[in-house]
């Protein structure tokens, strides 16, 4: 059954290749992409069930034994993240035909979409540091293709910056892998972890760890490396923004979570202490960015940064509650960010502008849309009983246990400001005079809201049904906190 681990990579890859052939036939492409994303979701659901009942799946590709061959490790963390990715992929596949992509759909939108899913799933599953780099490149290549679709003046300009910053950090990634290879003589993550443990992470190893952190922090948009994110994420179509906001930065933060719970865990006073400060600064600067603008897309894009801050806080704490909180918040944030990007896309579409100062009174025409936005604002800010609350509660509890009172206060204030920044869209856009938007033609939101409602419902279930989900998350956290389990399961000693 170990071949199961490769399916989340293979299925989107084959789907993408098939969709290239139907590029000009938009209707066929749409139907096929919906079908393929559902197949992929079904498979990953089964894999998640299998992993949680039978334990980690390890695939040694081509029967080359670990640590010599490339291995794929489908453990609990990888399984739930792949499942979440596929859920978002389904929602986006159903949203895309109505998203106003128009001609862009025939410019290989669907193949790029599935290549992106391939890269993201691969990055979650792989057990090899160099392979992680390769899957990063797969998903980045697809994202370069997606971000330039349409090719307006502004879009090209921002895509160029996005490409340059990612190219630079990828090359640093290769350099860091080269250094690590010179020191420990392997690129297999389990064996690196084992060898780093043997020498207790002495000397240059911590430096290499921080170099790797720098690379992943650039991809994850942490303070002070987030400057490239907000403007480049708002230029493409909303469905593409939703994919980027939900998946790309999360792959970066997943890599930090993996590397700094498995490999570099022996000098926590140098690395993990620093994460807590970076978490606090990311929260503050991200939320200031969100408050500073009246462009609704930019508000949501800036809100990615404090969310990443919350997740890195748990990694910095490196205790049971912190890691569980990080995982819970990671899943919650993947879902809610795609909801918000899609919703803001609908609002910008019906209002004809993304500038808040030109909006008002939309609730008279689109009441359902307004209340959806309001509920998702509550989820994002982490009000009970929604899923954001569970994650934040665990994170702040973990911070209290470590005696990090300052970060708890920063976290709480940030949550309040996040709520304000999104409710601002509701207040300025939806309240107010009915007349402001009276001249606008009433547009149909048919087909746009169903995927959003689905994702939002899932987010509410994650919060209300925490009793059911939490034990699984907790078991993953216990698993991550003991690197021995990972090492033993891969190297079979």
């Amino acid at each position: 059954m170990s071949n199961l681990a490769v399916l989340p990579i293979i299925i989107p890859l084959i789907s993408a290749v098939i969709l290239i052939f139907f590029n000009q036939k938009v209707k066929v492409s749409r139907a096929l992409s919906k079908l393929f994303s559902l197949i992929s979701l079904g498979t990953s659901s089964y894999i998640t069930w299998y992993v949680f009942t039978n334990g980690t799946i390890i695939l040694e590709t081509g029967d080359w034994l670990a640590p010599y061959g490339i291995i794929l490790v489908m453990d609990g963390l990888a399984a739930i993240l792949v499942l979440t990715t596929n859920i978002i992929a389904v929602a986006c596949a159903f949203y895309a035909p109505n998203a106003g992509l128009e001609k862009r759909e025939t410019f290989y939108f669907y193949p790029f979409f599935f290549f992106l899913i391939t890269g993201v799933s691969g990055a979650f599953i792989t057990g090899d540091l160099f392979n992680l780099f390769v899957f990063f490149e797969v998903l980045l290549m697809a994202s370069y293709g997606l971000i330039v679709l349409g090719g307006g003046k502004v879009q090209l300009r921002e895509s160029l910056k996005y490409l340059l910053i990612n190219l630079f950090s990828s090359m640093l990634f290769v350099t860091a892998v080269a250094f690590l290879y010179a020191v420990v003589g392997t690129v297999n993550m389990a064996q690196i972890a084992q060898r780093v443990q043997e020498v207790e992470q002495q000397g240059i190893l911590t430096t290499i760890g921080i170099l790797l952190f720098f690379v992943f922090a650039t991809k994850a948009a942490l303070f002070p490396l987030y400057y490239w994110l907000p403007k480049s994420y708002i230029v493409p179509n909303p469905v593409i923004s939703a994919l980027f906001g939900a998946l790309l930065t999360k792959v970066g933060i997943y890599s930090i979570l993996r590397v700094f719970t498995l490999i570099f865990v022996h000098k926590t006073d140098m690395t993990h202490e620093m994460f807590i400060w970076i978490a606090g600064l990311s929260m503050i600067f991200g939320v200031i960015g969100a408050l500073s603008t009246s462009n609704i897309k930019l508000i949501i894009a800036y809100n990615i940064i404090p969310a990443i801050g919350f997740i890195i806080l748990g990694i910095g704490l490196l205790n049971q509650d912190g890691i569980s909180g990080s995982i819970y918040y990671l899943i919650n944030d993947m879902i809610i960010k795609s909801v918000l990007f899609l919703l803001v896309g609908v609002i910008a579409y019906v209002a004809g502008t993304s500038d808040l100062r030109k909006m008002g009174g939309l609730i008279h025409y689109y009441p359902f849309l307004g209340w959806l936005l309001f509920v998702s604002a509550l989820v994002l800010a982490g009000l009970p009983p929604f899923s954001g609350f569970i994650g934040k509660l665990l994170l702040l509890k973990g911070a209290f246990e470590q005696g990090e009172i300052a970060i708890v206060i920063i976290g709480l204030i940030t949550s309040l400001l996040i709520l304000y920044s999104v409710v601002k869209i509701f207040i300025n856009g939806f309240w107010g005079d009915k007349e402001t938007m009276a001249e606008l033609p009433k547009k149909s939101t048919k087909g746009l809201l169903a995927p959003v409602v689905g994702l939002l419902a899932l987010s509410v279930i994650l919060g209300v049904g925490a009793e059911f989900f939490y034990p699984h998350i907790e078991s993953i956290a216990t698993y991550l906190l003991d690197p021995e389990i990972y090492i033993d399961s891969v190297l079979k000693e």
Partner: protein
């Protein structure tokens, strides 16, 4: 030999960073190409440079060349070729659309 290639990688990195920090778009593209060359030479150096040894470890052979860095470089070269060609096309299109190749003018203003 390792020392010399390490210095070469360092020089490549330094020139790459210098070029990336320029305002002209083409210089930035050249800078990224140099950066990838520097990274590749670094990988090669990190696997120890040996000549004349087989890349296979069997019984009776104590001295062998490590084949892994070459495999890593090959993968990385292919990727950086792909990205560089995409970057060139993107830079060309951006220059055409925006009528400038100066990064200062490609900054964009807040209210658009």
């Amino acid at each position: 030999m390792e020392i010399i290639t390490s210095i070469l990688a360092g020089v490549l990195f330094a020139t790459a960073i210098y070029n990336i920090l320029q305002k002209q778009l083409l210089r930035i593209v050249i800078g990224t190409a140099l950066l990838s060359h520097g990274a590749h030479i670094l990988i090669l150096t990190m696997g120890r440079l040996k000549t004349g040894q087989p890349p296979i470890l069997t019984e009776g052979i104590s001295d062998y060349t490590d084949p892994l860095p070459q495999a890593l470089i090959l993968t990385s070269i292919v990727i950086s070729f792909g990205v560089t060609s995409l970057l060139l096309v993107l830079a060309y299109r951006t220059t055409k659309e925006n009528n400038t190749d100066n990064m200062e003018q490609l900054r964009g203003n807040e209210n658009e």
